[in-house]
């Protein structure tokens, strides 16, 4: 992990806070394992998540990683961010 990188738990917390406050309506319960498409995530919201990750973690998620396996839940996303941070 490089200097200044967040620990996995902090990444997960930051993503959860962002999704709860800025993406989903207050009535929608978002947990680390919530399936985000089923919860109503659309393509514009996905773009906003990508911008949030760019700003917060200084990472550009490659197109090849923007798929169901890597980004369908907060848990997946935090794992992906962790992995990308290890590789930089």
């Amino acid at each position: 992990m490089g200097d200044g990188d967040m620990a996995y738990d902090e990444v997960e917390d930051a993503l959860l806070a962002f999704l709860r406050n800025e993406i989903f309506d207050p009535g929608v319960e978002i947990r680390a394992d919530t399936h985000l498409i089923a919860a109503g995530l659309d393509s514009f919201s996905l773009l906003r998540i990508l911008v949030f990750i760019e700003k917060t973690f200084g990472l550009r998620i490659p197109e090849a990683e923007i798929n169901e396996d890597r980004m369908s839940t907060v848990k997946n996303m935090a794992g992906l961010i962790d992995e990308l941070q290890q590789n930089t």
Binding site: I37, S43, F44, L47
Partner: protein, 477 residues
């Protein structure tokens, strides 16, 4: 007098058993869609909707969105689409400025809808408003008014009649050649795209396949399972599809149209390499319709939005060499042709007065190559295009300026490789004391603005540059 519902009903008579809309595994045939429309029209009529009333429609993409639109047209009411992401204050603003008689909303809270009469439509809600009058300006047979936000002094609402919409879909189909054999994959919000697209597909007996997700795997499966022949999507969707690592191809797709914002070269290259299918850029504006589609040479000239469609003419005014124009002679882009908007709504300005000697001024800067292909290089004004959603800086500035700590603000578009542009703001605080941070200001904006309008970046500054002559804010970075 022609009516777009009658155009649909003709198609439903010719193709009753063909699918009109496919949503996951639900097939709605033309006959079923017509039945839904008729039941909804009766319900709406019983609820008090009258001809020429303005009715807001705030709905997510669904077969119901389409059915309600045509039901309103069947009653000769006027459809005013409202962005499904709009906050209550924004819906109220549309309601007041457009003097809507009612809003049909996908979320709860309004008067109850007559229940049980239309099984395939999830219970919509119906809000009555204070305006009950009907509109009949200048004898225009209004079908649709697109509310455009913006601020005081700008023209609000683009009026389209049944006749003009019919003209524009006839013009578009000379390039697309849609028939009953086509199935179109639909990915974009219906509140932003409808009259040059869905109305056309449903007049031709084609099927509309709702994408059912955003991940490439799900979309590729949908394309294959439902025998999609035409894609209509934004560059972002294509960038995700291009990164798909399976070996699934799209053999049945005859055309892939990229719209909503400019197509970056790298997305075209990767998509073409992956699927051996070029992306055809299309250029549409609500006032004039889809006037250019690069159907002929998308692979050879992927950066072009194509030649102007046969029914239209393009004119480049005040040509000069622009920075970023690759040495091409560029100027302000104007169009002339059929199916243009009938008027601006508020204040009411009829088409003749709004056009410049019969030409529509797009506000875009572009140029034509030797073959007559149009290339776009930027905008004359400051509308921000973030992933296809248009944001008017002055609307966002007005919201920021309502915060008690904010003295003034300047909202502009920053370049972004995925979104095209991203909303950013520079803010001056009273007394220069930073008692609010950017998170607090964003939270403040989110109360009354749809999320795509809320600035992603907020910088605090000591002053905002103004042009010396007019005192206007300088919005360029």
């Amino acid at each position: 007098m022609m009516n777009l519902y009658a155009l649909f009903r003709d198609a439903a008579g010719r193709y009753p058993d063909r699918p009109a809309v496919i949503d996951k595994d639900i097939f709605v045939s033309y006959r079923e869609l017509d039945d839904m429309i008729c039941v909804l029209a009766e319900d709406l009529n019983a609820f008090g909707v009258l001809p020429r009333q303005m009715i807001g429609l705030c709905f997510v993409n669904s077969p119901a969105y389409i059915a309600v639109t045509y039901a309103l047209w069947k009653l000769d009411a006027v459809v005013v689409p409202i962005d499904a992401d709009f906050k209550e204050a924004e819906v109220r603003q549309v309601c007041d400025r457009m003097q809507l008689s009612a809003v049909i909303h996908h979320q709860g809270g309004g008067d109850s809808w007559p229940t049980g009469s239309c099984p395939k439509v999830e219970t919509p809600f119906y809000f009555r408003s204070m305006y009950s009058g009907t509109r009949s300006e200048s004898g225009i047979h209004m079908a649709f008014v697109r509310f455009t936000s913006g601020t005081t002094g700008t023209r609000k609402g683009v009026v389209l009649s049944h006749e003009r919409i019919h003209e524009r879909i006839c013009a578009v189909n000379k390039a697309l050649g849609i028939t009953c054999a086509d199935r179109v994959l639909w990915t974009l919000p219906m509140s932003h795209h409808f009259v040059s697209t869905i109305v056309l597909y449903l007049a031709c007996g084609a099927g509309i396949v709702l994408s059912g997700g955003i991940w490439s795997r799900a979309i590729l499966e949908t394309i294959q399972r439902h025998h999609v022949t035409l894609l209509y999507a934004s560059p972002f969707h294509y960038s995700l599809l291009a990164a798909d690592t399976s070996d699934q191809m799209m053999p049945g797709v005859r055309m892939a149209i990229s719209t909503a914002s400019g197509l970056p070269g790298w997305i075209h290259e990767r998509f073409y390499r992956r699927f051996q299918l070029p992306l055809a850029q299309a250029y549409g504006i609500i006032e004039i319709g889809l006037v250019c589609i690069n159907t002929d040479r998308p692979a050879k000239k992927p950066d072009s939005v194509g030649p102007v469609l046969p029914d239209y003419q393009v004119h480049i005014k005040n040509p000069q060499t622009y920075p970023g124009g690759d040495g091409m002679t560029c100027g302000e882009v104007f169009f002339r042709g059929p199916g243009f908007f009938d008027a601006y709504f508020d204040p009411w300005i009829d088409q003749t007065s709004a056009l410049v000697d019969g030409w529509f001024e797009t506000g875009d800067i572009g140029g034509l190559d030797a073959d007559g292909y149009l290339y776009l290089y930027g905008r004359k004004n400051h509308v921000i295009n973030t992933a296809g959603m248009k944001v008017f800086p002055r609307e966002v500035e007005a919201e920021l300026n309502r915060h008690p700590e904010v003295k003034e603000s300047c909202v502009y578009g920053r370049k972004h490789d995925r979104l095209g542009q991203i909303v950013a703001a520079r803010v001056v605080l009273h007394n220069g004391v930073a008692e609010v941070d950017s998170a607090a200001l964003k939270a403040f904006c989110r109360r009354n603005l749809a999320t795509y309008k809320v600035p992603e970046y907020i910088d605090f500054t000591e002053y905002i540059e103004k042009t010396p002559a007019t005192g206007k804010i300088v919005r360029s970075l």
